[in-house]
């Protein structure tokens, strides 16, 4: 089940700065809301996002309840070598969703 979506260029020139956009379908329930019965809806958020390129971490983020549902992140990296760019989202129930895209660097 793919719940994540990543937008990154498939090819790039060496040394070029590429923009990466990553989004995942997630409710990001804050834990501050009450349901119709007056009971607080338990918190359920993505708390950590990591992006690795060529097996090195290039970007990571700690997210809090103030991030909108379906967290969307835009960041950039320098194209160095051909290979895979990997993405991992971890929520507060320790469930991790991963995705990987290939990039060809010329």
């Amino acid at each position: 089940m793919t719940r994540a979506l990543v937008n990154a260029p498939q090819t790039a020139r060496r040394g070029e700065i590429i923009e990466i956009r990553a989004m995942i379908a997630h409710p990001m329930e804050t834990g501050y809301r009450e349901g119709p019965n007056g009971v607080v809806i338990p918190r359920h958020i993505i708390k950590r996002f990591v992006c690795t390129y060529d097996d090195a971490e290039i970007f990571s983020a700690e997210l809090f309840p103030a991030i909108s549902a379906n967290p969307f992140l835009t960041f950039s990296t320098v194209a160095t070598v051909s290979g895979s760019i990997k993405f991992a989202w971890t929520d507060d129930r320790d469930h991790t969703e991963t995705l990987s895209v290939q990039i060809t660097v010329t």
Binding site: T30, R33, E34, A61, E62, F64, P65, A66, S68, T74
Partner: protein
């Protein structure tokens, strides 16, 4: 506990009135409305800033915080933070924090960057529970902290919109 969430427990009818009042209030430039009680109990923005900076001095400048000054829907507010930095191995941005003044929690997000980012620019979408000040702080590789503030008027706060969905 229940009293803290008065702003969340509204009937559909009173919610309509609430929205109208919000619009009127924002039109009149009145901001003091619908501030959750719980928000008052949380650590202040200044406290959150010094926690992130570890007590170091935070200067103005080098950080550009792009956020719309007036937003209709507090549930998804686009934010872009860019830092004036060459992003080399010796001079780069290590961390960028987004903090807010009046949500139940001061933290919004912390981004970790490095020289491989190429450019110190991140964007995301955040929730705002009330009209308030949003702060972006960047830590550079020399251990200094830079910040930028923006004040945002929210006509439809995140909490009010949420209850209409449930």
């Amino acid at each position: 506990m229940r009293d803290n969430n008065l702003h969340l427990r509204v009937t559909p009818q009173s919610r309509l009135i609430g929205r109208r009042e919000l619009l009127a209030a924002s039109a009149a430039g009145v901001i003091a409305f619908a501030v959750p009680m719980r928000a008052l109990a949380r650590p202040a923005l200044d406290q959150a800033i010094s926690n992130f900076a570890g007590g170091a001095e935070v200067r103005d400048g080098r950080v550009q915080l792009e956020i719309p000054p007036l937003v209709e829907n507090g549930n998804a507010v686009g934010v872009t933070v860019s830092v004036d930095s060459p992003m080399t191995a010796t001079d780069h941005v290590r961390r960028i924090a987004l903090l807010n003044e009046k949500n139940p929690q001061a933290d919004v997000a912390v981004f970790h960057l490095g020289p491989r980012a190429g450019r110190a620019r991140v964007a995301t979408r955040i929730r705002l529970a009330a009209s308030q000040v949003v702060v972006a702080i960047a830590e550079t590789s020399d251990g200094r902290f830079w910040s930028s503030k923006a004040s945002v008027i929210v006509t439809l706060a995140a909490c009010i919109e949420d209850i209409s969905k449930s």
